[in-house]
Symmetry: C2
Subunit: 362 residues, 2 copies
């Protein structure tokens, strides 16, 4: 049972002839996740805790049952010069951001974050004070959500790699999934989109003369606010399907469609582009559709549930489209006000599909 050093052939399925010749960059992030998922589907001894697992690989967080509780766990990594640039982001902002992106995954499950484990890989020549600032930025956000940093690990490394794991729980019996969208559902989004990607454009050199606008853009990209409370309210109001917008609206909606085996239609003129983005960026629509890192919640539910959720939430909620039956064609379609299909760029942030030179920063 599982003592051979190589994957049984069945695990490779159709991919067996392809994998050996592919580079990680060619297979891409989601191809790699599927590769690992196929190795993990191990049906060996029957003594595994799999039966308690509600959600495994492929949602915003893992979920499992323990007595009357649902526990949640998620992990995310930020790599220097891939996800952040120390010339631009302060150590306090970095501490905040690495926690925020992880908390957002718990928000997307409708959960409550509780405990954090921090793993730091650091070059020895860094200043110790910077690590203090990093910890301080992280604890500032942690205290807002009563998250306790309970453990971690520090290792030497040639460049900074930060991995955070959050363990949380669901208050009730229900969590938000990617796999539960139904044809007929409305698609809705919290807040406004594009501000984080616009902030990134500015940090990469796009000039913004107004200091207040500049500050809002910087803050949107470097100090995002996870929608923890909003995720809880969605659960309470009967919503069952959500994801947080990290890769970009179109890409993240595509994840929902893939997991739910449905199609989606976005009415492009209804997408709530942030007014600062519209006012300052010619490519505002592209930034809102594909920029990513908004950390808003994208959710689907029937019309009445969406109306109820909108009533209960303390933030803007916009209906941007609807879910349809699965088709063999493109999973996410953009339409204009006349219902005509609008061409959609590749969009969305996927690791390895970007070269490091053009990778997202900071």
């Amino acid at each position: 049972m599982g003592h051979s050093l190589y994957l049984p052939a069945r695990m490779f399925n159709t991919a067996s002839a392809i994998i050996p010749a592919m580079k990680v960059s060619e297979l891409g992030e989601f191809g790699l996740i599927n590769l690992i998922r196929s190795a993990v589907r191990y049906d060996g001894s029957g003594h595994t805790p799999w039966q308690e697992v509600l959600v495994g690989i492929g949602d915003d967080a893992a979920a499992w049952r323990i007595d009357d509780h649902i526990l949640l766990a998620t992990t995310d990594t930020l790599v220097q010069d891939i996800h952040f640039n120390l010339d631009v982001i302060s150590w306090e902002e970095l501490g905040w951001k690495v926690l925020a992106v992880n908390l957002s995954d718990i928000a997307a499950m409708g959960g409550i974050p509780k405990y954090a484990l921090l793993s730091l890989a650091l070059p020895g020549e860094l200043q110790a004070e910077d690590i203090s600032r990093f910890a301080n930025g992280m604890m500032e956000l942690a205290s807002d959500f009563s998250v306790a940093l309970v453990g971690g690990n520090i290792a030497a490394a040639p460049n900074v790699v930060i991995t955070l794991t959050i363990i949380g729980c669901s208050r009730g019996e229900v969590i938000l999934r990617r796999s539960t969208a139904c044809p007929g559902d409305q698609i809705a989004v919290t807040g406004y989109l594009g501000l984080s990607a616009a902030g990134l454009e500015m940090l990469k050199g796009r000039t913004i003369s107004d200091p207040e606008t500049s500050s809002i853009l910087r803050c949107a990209h470097l100090r995002p606010k996870p929608r923890i409370e909003e995720g809880r309210i969605l659960v309470e109001q009967g919503v069952r399907t959500a994801i947080d917008i990290s890769d970009g609206l179109v890409a993240d909606l595509d994840h929902i469609c893939e997991c739910s085996k449905v199609n989606a239609r976005i009415k492009i003129e209804q997408v709530p582009v942030h007014p600062i983005v519209t006012a300052n960026f010619a490519d505002h629509q592209e930034l809102a559709l594909s920029g990513g890192e908004d950390y808003e919640l994208l959710f689907t539910a029937d019309q009445a549930t969406v109306a109820r959720a909108r009533q209960a939430l303390h933030c803007p909620v916009t209906v941007i489209g609807d879910i349809g039956e699965e088709q063999s064609a493109r999973r996410v379609t953009l339409v204009d006000r006349r219902g005509n299909t609008v061409p959609c760029g590749q969009g969305g942030w996927e690791h390895f599909k970007h070269g490091i030179a053009e990778a997202k920063f900071p």
Copy 2:
């Protein structure tokens, strides 16, 4: 409450004048952990989950209570060319090892591992097949202990950085701590020591002519076996204090002494050096005392409890010394058969204290 961007002065205490001028490499791994711990001791709102925390930063794993359960969580990172060398370790072995070192931390708490989250930072030019092999090596060990890989994250990076988080539980109300050693306790260790460090010496170039010996050494360093079952038995037999030997016998015993505010005396001739190490390595005693990565359990308890544990365990158990009152002098003392103090090298593996060039590999 906690919205300033800088640590309140009280958090720096005596260190406030020192931190700004120090490099990470000068402060060292344990100095950094203390730095982060001081930022984390946030006594703000009172709504934090801290009161449920049994063990925070500074033990082998974090522990907290949820109803009648104790949950455990630990995370560890392996960095390419710091902790492993891809010219020497196979991808299957790497998958095994990153899980094993994390499981060992759960073993040192007397816990049962349940769920794993994997974070991979990878260069794009790697072969996808290697990641399959890595996952397969990990799942081989995971299936031995019924551990479910439930989530994770994949990111692009210039070199391989692997972070694994394990979530486990304790079957009863008790866990093994570093902080509970008492004067009068015996100090005992499972198995034999030095084999992993000797394996590393071999992999770095020391010639071992006998193929079987070579294979045992390689396996000890690259495919360590976590003492999960043994940790459980220690708890059942009444032991309350343990650590796994990752940094080295002397260094890890020093961690127990620091946490328990006691001193320790090792009778050097009683240390169970593995016979293969004694037969093949002139510096066998140094390898057993300071080599590290044995992933054996080092524990303390009164004489009757140690005797009971030894009876119950299915592996060798050796009493190697005893615990004494805290003194201002060196916490861990080595003595020969006549009771004379033996000089003890720096010993033990600490990140940043070694230059990368001389760092441990693979």
